[in-house]
Symmetry: C2
Subunit: 408 residues, 2 copies
C-alpha cells in the first residue's frame, strides 16, 4: 500500500463521462489498497468562459475579484468529482484552497504557494476517505481567494504530494506521457519511460503543455516523483524522477523546439563587468522573459556582440526597452529579426560528451540549415535557426540521435 | 444619508448589461450619499445548470458537495458585480458566505442562518466601499459551505440589513412591487404602496415568487423594512413594514390564490382532546405541509369532520399516511378530491369587520361558485372552491372589494 496524489486536467474532466472515467481510476487505485488524494482543474472550457465574463465586466478587471470568479471552476469540478466518487461507493470530500488551507502570497493571478496545512487532508486519509482538492487556488494573507497562474493545478498536485509524503504524483493528461519529440512533428517519436527533473525542466521550458514548469521545479526541489500519463489509455506513462533514480542515462532523451522566437543582436557592446546586466535591466523592468542569451568573447577593440532571443509577441517592447540603453551603457548597433525557431537537444548523458554537439551541427549542416546562434547548458544544446526549417531540423536530429521508434 | 441593503435576483443579473444596470442603481444610491451593501443571487439559469451537473453526477447527490457546487453561482455574481462597480469608480469588494462569515446550521441545502459577524462588512462601509455579498450561502460548523434553500438570497439580504442596522432592504425583482392580485389574472390589479409583514406573509404563503416567506418572517421578527421594486423600471415599489408604520389600514389589501390543492375530509372523527393531533402526526412525520385545516363543532354523537388541504403532489402520500391512523385514533370514512383551488382575501383592516366575510360569500354565491370549506385568521379569509372557478372568483372579489385600478 502506498499513498498517491492523482491530478486530472480540464480535458480529463471535459464532461460527466470523463469525470466518471477519472473517478474510476481513483477507485481502482483505492481498491488496490492505495491511499489517494486528488487535485482537479476546471472542466475544459469553463475557465475561459469565466475569464470572458470578467472581460465583459471590465477591460481593467480587478485582480482579486477576477480570482474570486475564475476559482469557482475548480470548486465545481472538486464537488462533482466527490459526488461521483461517493456514487461509486468511495467516501470522498472536496476541499477548496481555503478549506485545506493552501496559503499563498497576496499577488492575485500569480500568487506563490507559501505553505499548506495538511491536517484536515491527513484526517480524511486516515478515515479511508479520498480528499478532492480544487487546484489552481489558495488563500492569501487577507483571507481573499488567490490563483496561482495558468496550469497551476500541476503545482497544487505536487504541493499536495510533498505535504502528504506521497509515493508518487500522477498527472493525468491527454497524451500518453513525455515524448522524445512532438509526435505531431515527428511521427516516429517515442514515449520516454523515465526522465530526470532537469531534462523535464528543459523540455517544459519549451513546451509547457504537458507539465507546468513551476511544478517540475518544485518536484525537483522537494524530490516528488511524478508520473505523466493519459487519462484515456491504459499503461504506464513517463516517470519524472531524480537523477539518482535514472538507471540508464540517455545521451540524448529528446528534441524540443519552439517557434515564434525573435532574435536581437546588440553589436559593439563594451566588454566590461556589469555592462550586460545594465543592458538587460530595462527588459527585467518590463517583465520581458529572455529565452536565450549568447555572448561571445570580445574582439581586439574590447567589444563584443550580445544576442538575445525573446518571444515574438515581446519583440517590439524589447526593442523599445533596449533603445533606452543605447547611449549608456551603450552599444554601437542593433540587428534583429523575427521568424526564428529555437531547436534544442536535451539529455542527461551528454555531459562531457563533446560528440553530441558535433552530431547536431553536422546533421543541420547536412540539411543545409544555417545556425544563427548556439548556446549550451550541462544537459542541453540549443540553436537558433530560420523558423521554416524547424520541423526538418527536429526530424533529422531525432533520427541522427537514434531516437526513432523501432530504431536500436 | 442612510444605510441601505440592495438585493438583486437572478433575472436582474441575467446578462452583463443587466449586471451593469443593477450596479448603476447602487452607484446612484451611493452618489446620493447613502452607504450601500449588496446581496446577489446567481445569474439567471446558472443555478439550474449547476444542479443539472450534480444530477448527472449522481441520482443521490451528496448534499454537502451539492452545496459546494451550486454556491459557486452566487460567488461568480458577487465577483462580477464588484468588478463592474469598480469599473464605474465605486470601490467594492465581494464576500462569499464564509468570508463574511455568515454562520449556519449544518443541514446542507436547508441550513438555518445562526449568526453573522458583520465586522468585515462594517470596515468596508466605514472605508466608503460597497461590500457585495454572495447570497444563498453560509458556512456550517464543520467549515463546509452550506446553502439555505431556494430563494435564500432574500433571506441573506434581510440578515445583512438587520446586522448592519440598515434603514431599508431593497429587493429588486422583475415586477414593480406587490400587487393586489396576480396581474396575469386580474388586469386591473394595482401595485400596493405599503403592506404589513403579516399581510405579506399571507400573500407570500400563496405566491412565493415575489419575496421568500422566510425572509418576510425574519424581517417581521427583526423589524427590517423591506422595499420590493423593479430593477428595470423606475419609481418606488412596495414597502413591507410593521403594522405601526401603516397609516391607513386597508380592510382588504389583496386577493391571493393557489391552484393544485387537494382536499381530504375525514368523516366521523371522535371529538376528544388529542385526537386531531394524533391523526395529523403521520403527516408531520412524512414532512407533508398542511396548507389548511378546518374542523367544525361536533354533532350529537360527539363526532366531527376534519378537512385538510395539501398540495396536489402530496395527495397520494397524504392519503396513505392517513390510512395508518384509520383504526386508532380512528375515523369512519375519508372523502377526498383534487382539482381544488384556495382563494384568500387578505387585509389588516378586516379585524372585527364581519362584513368582509359576508361580502366574500355573497360575491362567490353571485357567480354560482360553491364553497367547499372556509377558514379564517385575523387578517385572512380563505375558501376552497373548484379549481376551474379560481380566476373568476379572484376577479369578482377584486372588484367587490374596490381594489380595481382606477376604482375609488
Amino acid at each position: 500500500m502506498s499513498r498517491l496524489v492523482k491530478k486530472f486536467g480540464g480535458t480529463s474532466l471535459g464532461d460527466m463521462e470523463r469525470i466518471k472515467n477519472a473517478a474510476g481510476r481513483v477507485k481502482a487505485a483505492r481498491d488496490a489498497g492505495h491511499e489517494v488524494a486528488v487535485a482537479v482543474s476546471a472542466m475544459a472550457g469553463v475557465t475561459d468562459q469565466l475569464i470572458a465574463l470578467c472581460d465583459q465586466a471590465s477591460v481593467l478587471c480587478d485582480a482579486a475579484e477576477f480570482d474570486t470568479v475564475v476559482s469557482t471552476g475548480e470548486q465545481v469540478s472538486a464537488g462533482l468529482f466527490a459526488i461521483v466518487l461517493r456514487d461509486m461507493g468511495v467516501p470522498a470530500r472536496s476541499f477548496t484552497g481555503w478549506q485545506v488551507p493552501i496559503h499563498t502570497s497576496p499577488e492575485h493571478g500569480t500568487a506563490q504557494i507559501s505553505g499548506i496545512d495538511a491536517t484536515a487532508l491527513e484526517e480524511r486519509l486516515a478515515a479511508r476517505e479520498v480528499p478532492v482538492v480544487a487546484g489552481f487556488q489558495g488563500i492569501g494573507p487577507d483571507r481573499r481567494v488567490t490563483t496561482i497562474g495558468r496550469g497551476g493545478t500541476d503545482l497544487t498536485a505536487v504541493v499536495l504530494a510533498d505535504a502528504l509524503g506521497a509515493e508518487r504524483c500522477d498527472i493525468y493528461t491527454d497524451v500518453a506521457g513525455v515524448y522524445s519529440a512532438d509526435p505531431r512533428v515527428v511521427r516516429r517519436a517515442r514515449k520516454i519511460d523515465m526522465i530526470s527533473y532537469e531534462e523535464m525542466l528543459e523540455m517544459a521550458s519549451v513546451d509547457a503543455k504537458v507539465l507546468q514548469r513551476r511544478a517540475v521545479a518544485l518536484a525537483m526541489a522537494r524530490q516528488v516523483r511524478i508520473q505523466v500519463l493519459s487519462s484515456f489509455g491504459d499503461g504506464p506513462g513517463t516517470l519524472v524522477v531524480g537523477e539518482d533514480e535514472m538507471v540508464e542515462k540517455e545521451k540524448v532523451s529528446g528534441i524540443a523546439f519552439s517557434r515564434d522566437v525573435a532574435q536581437i543582436t546588440l553589436l559593439g557592446v563594451k566588454d566590461q563587468p556589469g555592462v550586460v546586466a545594465a543592458l538587460l535591466k530595462p527588459l527585467v523592468e518590463e517583465g520581458i522573459n529572455i529565452d536565450l542569451i549568447v555572448q561571445n568573447v570580445s574582439n581586439e577593440e574590447g567589444e563584443t556582440d550580445l544576442t538575445l532571443a525573446v518571444k515574438s509577441v515581446d519583440f517590439e517592447r524589447t526593442k523599445a526597452a533596449l533603445e533606452r540603453v543605447r547611449e549608456e551603457p551603450g552599444y554601437r548597433d542593433i540587428k534583429s529579426g523575427v521568424g526564428i525557431a529555437k531547436v534544442s537537444v536535451i539529455g542527461l548523458g551528454m555531459r562531457g560528451h563533446a560528440g553530441i554537439a558535433q552530431t547536431m551541427f553536422e546533421t543541420l549542416a547536412g540539411k543545409g540549415i544555417n545556425i544563427k546562434a548556439i548556446t549550451t547548458s550541462d544537459i542541453k544544446i540549443s540553436v537558433l535557426i530560420a523558423s521554416e526549417y524547424a520541423e526538418l531540423a527536429v526530424r533529422a536530429l531525432h533520427t541522427a540521435y537514434g531516437l526513432d521508434e523501432g530504431a536500436a
